[in-house]
């Protein structure tokens, strides 16, 4: 399995941004989520973010909320998330709110993820002040820690948070929750420029990116482009399993064209 570093280096050498795709575990069913994710990879997604569903997802808009509710009704557990990670053909991350990780056990989760072949965890509500145990444990198991920074994050704070990051930095393109937007916020490029001043790590931009045109725009200044809700929306709108797999793969193909800098 390639490391995150290799993925970003390769994308850079090909004059494109890395494409990162999000899909919750256990959505719409446990079986289908693995097939959907591998369809994203076949379509050109470089890195997969597996969502760990949570009952109180305050950073997520209606689409991901709906998917999380479905997944929870399917009884998705930490072990299910780890099993899914082990089936993915590309470098895989888990995106999780903090409580499910803490409940499973920080050590258990990091060790389990490492055994499943996972390369990192995005923790949208874990602050660096509460991260002492997480940093020690993820270092021990060679798991990357990805924190999410926002346009409101001060320069001083950006330096502190990115110092705790590894793999890449997740830049939220705007002040708000996940979900497709008509246009990518202008605050994204400014935030990326501010992050560049404090870290050498690759920077991936997420929130509101849903099509190839937007991906192309973001790829002009960021090292990675993150797409989530747009994939899920296709699954919600499709009329069969095969239809959803085909649509997800097509969007991934379009986005992977979009992230090429021309």
């Amino acid at each position: 399995m390639k490391s995150l570093k290799e993925v970003f280096e390769r994308a850079k050498s090909e004059n494109r941004a890395a494409l990162i795709g999000y899909m919750p575990a256990g959505f719409p069913t446990s079986e289908l989520s693995a097939r959907l994710i591998n369809a994203m990879v076949d379509g050109g997604v470089d890195i997969v973010e597996v969502g760990f569903p949570y009952s109180d997802p305050v950073m997520d808009g209606p689409v991901i909320q709906q998917a999380a509710e479905t997944s929870l009704r399917n009884g998705t557990s930490a072990q299910d998330v780890l099993n899914l990670v082990s089936q993915i053909k590309a470098p895989a991350l888990v995106m999780s709110y903090w409580n499910p990780i803490e409940r499973f056990g920080v050590e258990n989760f990091a060790r389990g993820l490492s055994h499943a072949g996972g390369v990192g965890v995005i923790t949208p509500d874990l602050t660096i002040e509460e991260s002492a145990e997480w940093i020690t444990t993820t270092n021990h198991h060679s798991i990357n820690r990805i924190y999410v920074v926002a346009p409101s994050t001060s320069d001083a704070r950006l330096a502190e948070v990115t110092r705790a990051c590894s793999g890449f930095v997740y830049a939220a393109s705007l002040m708000g929750v996940t979900g497709a937007r008509n246009s990518v916020s202008g605050s994204a490029s400014e935030l990326v420029a501010r992050i560049r001043r404090v870290t050498q790590l690759p920077i991936a931009v997420g929130l509101g990116v849903s099509n190839a045109e937007q991906a192309n725009q973001v790829a002009s200044y960021a090292d990675g482009v993150i797409v989530g809700s747009a994939f899920i929306k296709l699954v919600l709108e499709s009329n069969s399993d095969d239809d959803s797999i085909a649509r997800v793969r097509t969007l991934a193909e379009q986005l992977s064209e979009g992230v090429r800098r021309s």
Partner: protein, 396 residues
């Protein structure tokens, strides 16, 4: 990082578990709160509002006919129900609304369960000329339609929340999403001692006035400190407000009464400390009602104001170090005490508060007639007439 990790913690509880997008606003709020604590002009402004608008100091009422059912102990009621808007909630709301103006923000958002905090927030917004949006679970807007109308009459917008369990927990989620989006112009006027730092500390500080007044009033009336102080605990704001000034008084027992619903053993309850486990919810580490996967479990209580699967982190700490004790009161026990106070003293309490009164019946009988119990009568029961009438089979 070491020093920072102490910030906003109560032992292992409290802290901040929030999106990075909110950190700047929380830091700004923390600074504004700290500055206000030592700013005589701010304190004077709040004091004038409390005397001329809230109706402070709230009085103490002795309840001898009720006490006859509580082993004959002396029972003293701290009458927060007589505050403007009918509960202790106004103490915190006026404080935070003044801070909002100081921070130069013009819009407040709030969550509400029973509607008391929403009504108090809408009231403060009207008084101080702020825009106010209240998030309320769709279920609760139906259960508490009268309070929805009150908020609208006061000029606030009420947004019914249709996600998750459609109750208080989901109203908080939706308020957080609004805040993440509009944080530059908006203050989140959180209604209890939960949430990320500085909320648990700040909301406590605005409610400490309850305990500060009551401690002096009890000393003057009885010549000594009470043997026990009792209050109901949902998020725990009225309880921490009356407990806090007594924490150093080792002889005073602090007793929090949680909502036991149909009984903790049935799983249908909201007794977070008695029946929950440590975890993270809504930005803070405390006790949480959760399943084995760390998913929040729905709470159950006849009292909408206690129907919350989390609790303030300072209560979790006071519990763990043994300084305060927490018990669960079932719906039936609370409703018995609700009727008893109404019929022995002519005071209809909020159903939330009735949990504390039921606790007083237990503790009074345990301690006997020489004991003095101080109860925080945190709210009045006008809003609960419909629920109580249904419970007792009174036709409407």
């Amino acid at each position: 990082m070491e020093q920072k990790s102490i910030l906003g913690h109560f032992g292992p509880y409290g802290g901040r578990f929030v999106p990075e997008a909110l950190i700047q606003a929380l830091d700004e709020l923390d600074s504004a709160h700290k500055a206000a604590l030592v700013d005589s002009e701010f304190q004077r402004e709040l004091d004038v509002l409390h005397r001329t608008y809230t109706g402070r100091p709230s009085i103490i009422t002795e309840a001898p006919r009720f006490a006859a059912h509580a082993g004959g102990a002396r029972i003293l009621l701290k009458r927060e129900d007589l505050n403007h808007t009918g509960s202790h909630k106004i103490n915190n709301v006026l404080g935070q609304a003044l801070l909002t103006k100081r921070m130069g923000k013009k819009r407040i958002i709030a969550e509400t369960g029973a509607g008391q905090h929403g009504v108090a927030s809408a009231t403060a917004a009207a008084l101080l000329g702020l825009e106010c949006v209240v998030y309320m679970g769709e279920e609760d807007t139906k259960r508490q339609s009268l309070n929805v109308a009150r908020m609208k009459l006061l000029g606030a917008s009420v947004v019914p929340v249709t996600t998750g369990s459609r109750t208080l927990k989901d109203a908080i989620n939706e308020a957080m999403r609004d805040w993440v989006t509009n944080v530059e112009t908006t203050h989140y006027l959180l209604g209890t001692v939960a949430g990320p730092h500085p909320f648990p500390t700040m909301v406590r500080d605005f409610h400490r006035i309850i305990g500060v007044e009551a401690r002096a009033q009890v000393l003057e009336l009885t010549g000594r400190l009470p043997d026990a102080v009792l209050a109901c605990v949902g998020g725990g704001s009225n309880a921490i407000g009356i407990f806090h000034p007594f924490i150093e008084d080792a002889s005073v027992r602090l007793i929090g009464l949680e909502a036991g619903g149909s009984g903790v053993e049935t799983g249908k309850h909201a007794a977070t400390i008695v029946g929950g486990t440590p975890g993270v919810l809504h930005g803070t580490r405390s006790y949480v009602l959760q399943d084995e996967n760390g998913q929040t479990v729905e709470s159950h209580s006849i009292s909408a104001g206690l129907d919350y699967p989390g609790v303030g982190p300072e209560h979790a700490y006071l519990h763990d170090i043994g300084r305060a004790e927490y018990r669960a009161i079932t719906d039936d026990q609370a409703m018995h005490a609700f009727a008893l106070l109404s019929q022995t003293e002519g005071i209809i309490p909020a159903i939330e508060t009735a949990h504390a009164l039921a606790g007083a019946l237990q503790v009074g009988n345990e301690l006997g007639e020489d004991a003095i119990l101080l109860i925080n009568l945190s709210g009045r029961g006008d809003k609960d007439v419909q629920t109580a009438a249904q419970y007792f089979g009174i036709p409407l």
